[in-house]
């Protein structure tokens, strides 16, 4: 059994424009040293998938920079490896170039590339699937049950307000999908929601894409699951581990803090020796804790220099915390510099931000204070 992977890089960017203004969702930094794409990529690699395409349409410079040749993920390979698929735009298309907006359109736009896949199965995954999941197990189940499509789901108590965010999947006791819908008027409560991780049999995928193009289908949920569910073998696979997606700026912040606070989640995601989360190797120096620093309950990447106080915070690479500065409940991206006597509470600073000496900035858990990339306050 062999499988290829496809990762969607842009689908949910509108959820978190603060961080996706300058980069694609896949390249959004997460938990000090990672970018979101590291999670689906690592899950695929750890499940033996070594032929991965990342499909993207704009702002993908930081993604390309991050992935490079794929070496750091062991994906610089002769057979397969990683490829980034930006839009295929030609000068001779009589203005018919268009960018996809849905998952299905995205797949159609890379149909030429999908048609080269020789593997029996294709794993589709969004880039904001923060979890450590054994996809091999799902593939095995998919094959054993002779499924055409397996959607990974998790039981979740869906409130009325949240309903619009999820694709809700209904299945019978045997795991066969009976219905799928988004934002419907169905009553809220405990539901199976799609984790946006799926396994598709390649043969079905090519039929599906041909049909999609012939009929201009748009929505995976309505046009594919909805139309085929009676005639095809669509199944769910329930995943019970930690999973978070990025649904908003506040959500991003709180998800990060939850992982920081909860040792069992950190252990589940980062502590599995056989299932490491890979990321780009940057050769940063070890972090230096200078005399006078106070550091507690924090997740810290290499290359930092800390002279002040850091509590309940996530510090990415090369963050500098000046003397007598106090940083609490904050997430600081790479190269953030915090000056002497500055105080930050519930702050998220994007890359290369500078907070000058003595500045006091404070947000709250419901609305963290955001500092844009490169800002000098």
């Amino acid at each position: 059994m062999s499988a290829a992977g496809i990762i969607f890089s842009n689908l949910h960017e509108a959820h978190i424009t603060e961080l996706t203004k300058v980069r694609t969702m896949a390249a959004v930094p997460f938990m000090a040293r990672y970018r979101l794409v590291d999670f689906p990529l690592s899950n695929m690699i750890n499940s033996g998938i070594t032929n991965v395409s990342v499909i993207t349409h704009y702002n993908y410079h930081s993604l390309m920079n991050h992935i490079g040749s794929g070496k750091d993920w062991d994906l610089a390979r002769r057979n397969g490896g990683i490829q980034i698929l930006p839009p295929f735009i030609t000068a001779y298309a009589n203005n018919s170039n268009s960018l996809y907006s849905t998952r299905l359109e995205a797949l159609c736009s890379i149909n030429h590339s999908i048609s080269n896949i020789k593997d029996d199965f294709i794993v589709l995954c969004d880039c904001d699937c923060i979890c450590n999941i054994d996809i091999k197990e799902i593939l095995e189940e998919h094959e054993e049950k002779k499924a055409d499509l397996t959607v990974v789901v998790q039981k979740k108590n869906v409130t009325d307000e949240e309903r619009a965010k999820f694709t809700i999947i209904e299945a019978d006791a045997d795991g066969h999908i009976t219905d799928a819908f988004t934002n419907s008027g169905m009553t809220s409560g405990e539901k199976h929601v799609s984790l946006n991780i799926m396994v598709i049999t390649r043969q079905f995928m090519s039929n599906m894409l041909a049909d999609t193009m012939a009929h201009s289908y748009k929505s995976f949920t309505y046009d594919i699951i909805g139309r085929y569910k009676g005639s095809r073998n669509f199944r769910i696979h329930e995943f019970n581990g930690h999973y978070s997606a990025v649904d908003s700026f506040v959500g991003y912040f709180n998800q990060s803090m939850k992982i920081l606070r909860t040792e069992s989640i950190r252990e589940e995601i980062f502590g599995n020796k056989n299932r490491p989360i890979f990321t780009r190797i940057r050769n940063s120096v070890p972090t230096r804790y200078k005399t006078g620093c106070i550091v507690r309950n924090s997740f810290i990447a290499d290359g930092c220099i800390i002279e002040g106080t850091v509590e309940n915070s996530i510090l990415a690479r090369n963050v500098k915390i000046g003397k007598n500065a106090v940083v609490r409940n904050s997430i600081l991206f790479r190269n953030t510099t915090v000056g002497e006597y500055a105080e930050l509470d519930y702050v998220l600073s994007d890359k290369n931000a500078t907070i000058r000496d003595g500045r006091h900035l404070s947000g709250c858990d419901a609305l963290p204070y955001f500092i844009d990339k490169g800002m000098n306050l």
Partner: protein, 405 residues
């Protein structure tokens, strides 16, 4: 594939490093870890890369497994190239070949490797030192001087000078005389063991030296003096940066401590990045009860206690109530609750049991206690005391355990 290169490097990495005791029991000295995430050999390799040298022959001999594995195809240093790159050159059997009998013989046995790239110059390096140096600046100087051989030197104090090979030069830095460990040094210019040779001269002297049965086949003892006697143009190249030989427990400990302090004596953090084989590990987690003072800590460490003036490698776990001071903890070390570690080096993946005491505090006299060294992959039982300057490996730990009962 091969194409002509202006300059290639030959890195002598066969040293045993016997004065590092248990730290080099299972691996060669160049593979000894340094500074939280590096190994000694990362320094010359990274220097080569930054100096534009992209062919590096790494000559191994003693306990090469770990070193060979570490260097691999040279990928961490960007030395996995089609035309060149890093190549491990172990001793081999041939009609005349054998174990490397000395530094000069090691290069002699690999002349065919040098020939492949037809270089004008060869840099000879050793894998024993911690420093950042631009070999291309030295090469420029070498060419400007129209030299046959250039030797990098560093100023040492007059007292120290008798431990080094000392160069006596004229005002233009031309070497007049070389003295190996002189009792009464005439200069303080100590050889750093870094040589640049014109390839043709290097070859002819190596071939001649090989034929000399009385030679000990060593650069410092044989090749350099012979060339000087022959009146070759040899120049000293003055280096002013940080440079340390880390061949002893004390010097290794001291060089690690040089990374600490308000303004570290040796700053790793600069554009001259030291590359090393890093694995992707999660960031470090500093817990609720951690108190950290003047230390460097790296990926995947989990700290729950007091750490002072120490260097922690990756994946070190320190449980609550432990105390780590003035020490070096290598990758994967675990220190259990209530254990005390002071003035010690603990090699990788060793577990220090709860309440154990390793090393000794600084006494009232202010004199630094001798460094205690614990080997790799050991389990130091709870409550065990290991005193200042003790060297513990598997055998001695077992013996100690028996006497303590």
């Amino acid at each position: 594939m091969y194409k002509k290169k202006e300059c290639i490097a030959m890195l002598l990495a066969g040293g045993q490093g016997s004065r590092l005791y248990t730290l080099t029991e299972k691996s060669a000295k160049p593979a000894v870890p340094f500074g939280g995430k590096y190994r000694i050999i990362d320094f010359p390799l990274s220097n080569c890369v930054h100096s534009g040298i992209d062919v590096v022959g790494v000559l191994t001999q003693y306990r090469p497994l770990e070193l060979n594995e570490y260097i691999g195809n040279g990928q961490p240093w960007g030395l996995d190239l089609m035309y060149g790159g890093a190549m491990v050159l172990p001793p081999y059997q041939g009609k005349t070949a054998d174990w490397y009998k000395g530094t000069a013989n090691a290069i002699y046995q690999n002349l065919h490797f040098i020939d492949r790239y037809d270089p004008d110059y060869v840099v000879i390096l050793s894998g024993d030192h911690i420093y950042k140096m631009d070999y291309s600046a030295m090469l420029k100087e070498h060419i400007k001087n129209d030299a046959v051989c250039s030797i990098a030197v560093i100023n040492v104090s007059l007292q120290e000078a008798s431990r080094f090979g000392i160069m006596n030069t004229d005002e233009n830095n031309r070497i007049l005389e070389f003295e190996e460990k002189p009792k009464h040094p005439k200069s303080t210019k100590a050889s750093m063991g870094i040589y640049i040779f014109n390839t043709d001269k290097l070859k002819s002297y190596l071939i001649a030296d090989e034929a000399d049965e009385n030679s000990s086949k060593d650069f410092g003892k044989n090749i350099i003096p012979t060339m000087l006697n022959a009146g070759e143009r040899m120049f000293a190249y003055q280096f002013d940066g940080y440079w340390r030989d880390v061949g002893t427990i004390d010097s290794l400990w001291e060089a690690n401590m040089d990374l600490l302090g308000e303004v570290p004596e040796f700053n790793l953090d600069s554009d001259w990045t030291i590359y090393s084989r890093n694995y992707t590990l999660p960031p470090q987690f500093i817990g609720e009860s951690a108190v950290i003072d003047n230390s460097i800590i790296t990926e995947n460490c989990h700290i729950e206690s007091r750490i002072e003036n120490s260097v922690l490698f990756s994946s070190v776990t320190v449980e609550p109530g432990a105390l780590i001071r003035n020490s070096i903890l290598m990758s994967g070390v675990t220190v259990r609750a209530g254990a005390k570690v002071d003035y010690a080096i603990i090699d990788h993946d060793t577990v220090i049991g709860a309440g154990a005491e390793i090393g000794q505090e600084k006494g009232a006299d202010g004199k630094r206690p001798a460094i205690a060294v614990i080997g790799s992959d050991l389990n130091v039982p709870p409550g065990m005391k290991i005193g200042a300057g003790e060297m513990i490996n598997e055998a001695s730990l077992e013996a100690k355990f028996k006497t303590v009962g």
